[in-house]
């Protein structure tokens, strides 16, 4: 969207994409809390639809996506910009519809960048603390993530379990790093 079309407000959109990077995750969490929490004007509608966002799994997901999305877009945008829109135009002139153009022409170009972005995103999501911490409510076994669990254990002076969980997190991070390097090598070809 930001690379293949020229339109008004393009700058605003690109700036918005980078917003989560600049805002502290805790603030992001608070914003979500205000938007979907009890004080929010949206709350009655959400309740009516039986949607629990705050202090529930959707909230955790939402916060994670918000914080990590820029990692994907940041990876893809330069690739798409470098490529320009020539191939897409050629495909459109030959009569291809939007979906075909994306799937057959654009996607092969961004495949590796996308994968790379997803890995970075996953790595960030695993460790995400601030926004999730505010939004999830630390419900053990329900809305707890690994970093949150470490904090809880740490606050309970359960150092050994805290470090054990930490090492799981480190281990996962190392695996992701290995996958990332592999993707980099593959995609560089």
């Amino acid at each position: 969207m930001t690379t293949k079309f020229h339109y008004k407000g393009k700058r605003v959109l690109t700036t918005l994409i980078d917003l989560p990077v600049t805002i502290s995750p805790v603030i992001a969490g608070l914003i979500f809390l205000l938007t979907f929490g009890r004080q929010s004007p949206l709350y009655p509608y959400l309740k009516e639809m039986n949607l629990n966002i705050v202090f529930a799994v959707p909230g955790v997901l939402l916060a994670t996506i918000f914080v990590t999305l820029p990692f994907i877009s940041r990876e893809i945008i330069p690739v798409m910009e470098a490529q320009g829109s020539g191939e897409e135009e050629a495909a459109a002139l030959l009569g291809a519809d939007g979906f075909t153009i994306f799937w057959k022409v654009t996607f092969p170009h961004i495949k590796w960048a996308l994968l790379y972005g997803i890995i970075l995103c996953a790595a960030r999501a695993m460790g995400e603390f601030g926004a999730v911490s505010v939004l999830s409510g630390h419900l053990r076994g329900k809305t707890n993530t690994l970093p949150l669990h470490i904090e809880i254990l740490f606050n309970e002076f359960a150092y050994v379990p805290a470090f054990a969980v930490s090492s799981i997190l480190v281990f996962l991070a190392v695996i992701l790093l290995i996958v990332k390097s592999y993707v980099e090598v593959k995609g560089g070809k």
Binding site: E87, E89, A91, A92, L93
Partner: protein
Amino acid sequence: MYVELIDINKSFGTEKVSDHVSFGIEKGKLVGLLGPSGGGKTTILRMIAGLEDPDSGEIRVDGKVVNQTPAGERGIGFVFQNYALFRYMTVYENIAFGLRVQKENKRKIDERVKYLIRLIGLDGLEDRYPAALSGGQRQRVAFARALAPGPQLLLLDEPFAAIDAKVRKELRSWLKEMIRTLGITSIFVTHDQDEAIEVADEIIIINQGRIEQKGTPVEIYKKPATDFAATFFGDGVWVRDYSELRSFPWVQGLTGALIRPEYVRISKKSEDIKYQSSASEGVVEDVSFRGNSFEIRVRVGDLLLRAGRGPDEAPLDIKETVDVFIYRILAIKGREVFLLENEVMKDDSLII
């Protein structure tokens, strides 16, 4: 007229890229849009293709207004400047793409693609990716891809710009012949006048979003309609004041004059020439070999002129004093152009 543009205007921001552009192109013609870079040629091509919308005006193809028709439904083939081949598809898949999205049956696609690959002379390379092709081969693939769905109109944006000089010449004649054989109406954009002269049946000169002149290469060369057409098309030396040259009528309010090398005849003092009396004296300043002729720079009074000389003629030395006879000049007054013949030639009784 097969393709018609009627009073097209287009601006990008405050910059006017098409200024009341109107022209028509006959079916089967190969037309070149010629002009300096940034003059609005490509935009015109993109508007015909539907990649860009005009701010006002009408575009007609085969009698139908196509302004509202999406690019993919106009049935126009387009060859991009950098070819824009699908990098992640083989030569075969590139050419087949247009037919596949039209949901042609497999056997028909295969037949058509194989025919086109043979036509462009790339047999055996159908499984290559564009990255493994040379510039010339890529251009041929782009050409075949544009032709695959059987368009009635082919548009080419600077088709030879990305190819090195030697292959370019070869490809020009190849493309010209190919388009002739297929009989498809074609419009191509170029900033290279040699290319336009060699390839096009008709040339449209475009500058700053305006059409300066439309005509065959010979017409434009012989009778340039505007000062821009005169200076851009063909070679020449620009002089402010030609009063030093003998026997040309003076035009009131002149901006200057253009003297093409072909209009200038240089002869050695020892050579006998017609119109000797009205030749001016000049001094050779520079002689350079141009492959099939010599280019001579000669000073006549304050004017530094250029002229050609055949390789078989007696060689000229630098600083040699020679006779310079000028057949005709293009006098330019504002946007108007006058072709002035040397008056001696009109009146043969003057010959001594």
